[in-house]
Amino acid sequence: MAMIELRQLSKAYGAVTALSNLDLSVPEACLYGLLGPNGAGKTTTLRILATLLAPDSGSVVVDGVDALQHPREVRRLLGYVAQEVAIDKILSGRELLQLQGDLYHLKRSDRDHRIDDLIDRLGMEAWIDRRCGTYSGGMRRRLDLAAGLLHRPRLLVLDEPTVGLDIESRSAIWQLLNQLVEAGTSVLLSSHYLEEIEVLADRMAIIDAGMVIAEGTPADLKQRLGGDRVTLRVREFSDAQEAARVRSVLEPIEGVREVVINRAQGFSLNLVIEGESVIGRLRDSLEGAGLPVFALAQSRPSLDDVYLQATGRTLMDAELAIAGQRDLKQEKRQSMR
């Protein structure tokens, strides 16, 4: 059975569509990544899962429980770490965790024992009894992660858990997430860092404009693109004429696709090859034409390529396009009760 089943989820804020018939299925004991630019609908999806927001239509089932019918049960089995960490500056980290434990009705002895355990695992001993107001971004995020884990949820939902964090905090969080999944917890995290999804996720979905547009394991998604990316030069700085000649030699070779002349890179050639053997054939053909290879770089397709293929633009372009359209004031009002 899947840990999360989202069916035909739609949500609009006024005239702005955040989600449009989104379907998502997250298996149990899996670290699942949601990749997409800011404004793609990631946060809205996670807020609906956390029962903070009701969808306009669609169904939400978490661990077999209908979240719209039985929100309290879902709250019990889910830990939610929001993007904007809300902490009480006047309380110490330990007091905040104690409050959190009481809100989940833990027994006092259990509660304090678990708090000590999490302080240890997240490396918080040195500052946990200081007031939260003095914490850095990384400390806050670790504290918030501890708060989300205190009741030992079967599902942990994290909204961009490492955005803007120092390396130490980030690796502490990554390590803990891996341990959790090994111990059987399901983790759903959103990110707009390709690297984070690449390193962490067992499975992933790409979200764009409120829809899932690609889904699978990161390796699968890259495999589906097929072929390695090759950049090739016959001279350090070539010219248009020579590049065109090289292309005419390359194009007929079997297993070579999408040959593009890259003017910005000194008329180098970008192409996709099917299989390793193509490289040898390619070198021979060019040699035969009197255009021996000067430099050749080969790479596996990256998640950025996957994203480009799925949406027709790079993740960075998508972020830039969306940055101008968002109404942050409106979003803040939406998140306020």
Partner: protein, 277 residues
């Protein structure tokens, strides 16, 4: 507010979450005591300065030949509790604005009434402590002290007023868009309600239009029973206020406060339900 749950341990869970939320409010108060200090200091200054202002007023000017200091005492006690309760919505508003409320709403609270309940417990305790501090100061200034029965009457009256005003403030905290607006409303409501009551002067001193306002002002219904508790043997059936629309006994005053409290809680209930669901 959601219906009370019947599951086993419901009461224990409700107690646990309410106490934890109340504890947080008190920790905030202890670590940032300026609210507490200002809440005692302001009425204290009223008591001392205003008391001195009319210290030489002719004898027998006030009903029953009361000294002005003693007359003012009841008004300032009520004003203290009222001001404190009026601020009840501020912590809730900040939690809304900073997203801390979302943390509470993600948790499987037995009932979200515990969020409201913890505010009521906190602000009641705070305003009673502040009022007691003022009562003790007034007593040191020679403005008297109610007897044991009188003290009970003072506490009951203050409780009713505090509940009503807390309900109002919590309602505003969920209805208004931000803390700036809430503070503005508190600021505007505070002093006019004090002046248009019998806190500083009896009804007989006022022009008819102000007398009407004062006789409709809920603060007046709290001030008069407390003033009575200070001025001798307790008789709740005695006429305490000769309002333009008729005579009010102590019992009537308390009854009006009770109805007001219940009415306000019923009034804000749909709003809280909507905001916390």
């Amino acid at each position: 507010m959601p219906p009370p749950a019947q599951a086993p341990g419901a009461l224990a869970e409700l107690t646990q979450e309410t106490l934890a939320l109340t504890r947080r409010l008190f920790l905030q108060l202890i670590r940032r005591p300026s609210t507490l200090v200002a809440g005692v200091l302001q009425p204290l200054i009223w008591l001392i300065l205003f008391g001195a202002l009319f210290a030489n007023a002719p004898e027998g000017l006030l009903p029953g030949g009361m000294s002005y200091g003693r007359f003012l005492g009841a008004g300032v006690i009520v004003f203290t509790a009222f001001s404190a309760a009026l601020n009840a919505g501020l912590p809730v508003m900040f939690d809304r604005e900073f997203g801390f409320l979302n943390r509470l709403l993600v948790a499987p609270l037995r009932s979200r009434s515990s969020i409201v309940l913890s505010s009521v417990i906190y602000i009641t305790a705070l305003s009673l402590v502040q009022s007691l501090a003022i009562m003790m100061t007034a007593s040191l200034l020679g403005y008297g002290w109610p007897g044991a029965a009188g003290l009970v009457l003072v506490m009951v009256t203050l409780l009713l007023l505090v509940f009503a005003v807390t309900a109002l403030s919590l309602g505003l905290a969920f209805a208004l868009p931000g803390h700036i607006e809430l503070i503005a409303v508190i600021f505007v409501a505070n002093l006019p309600l004090l002046f248009a009551s019998t806190a500083l002067a009896p009804l007989s001193f006022m022009p008819p239009w102000l007398g009407w306002l004062a006789a409709l002002n809920p603060l007046t219904f709290a001030i008069e029973p407390i003033r009575a508790a200070y001025s001798g043997p307790l008789d709740l059936s005695a006429v305490l206020l000769e309002a333009p629309y008729g005579n009010l006994t102590g019992e009537t005053c308390l009854l009006i406060l009770l109805v007001l409290t219940i009415g306000l809680f019923l009034l804000i209930r749909p709003l809280l339900n909507r905001k916390l669901s």
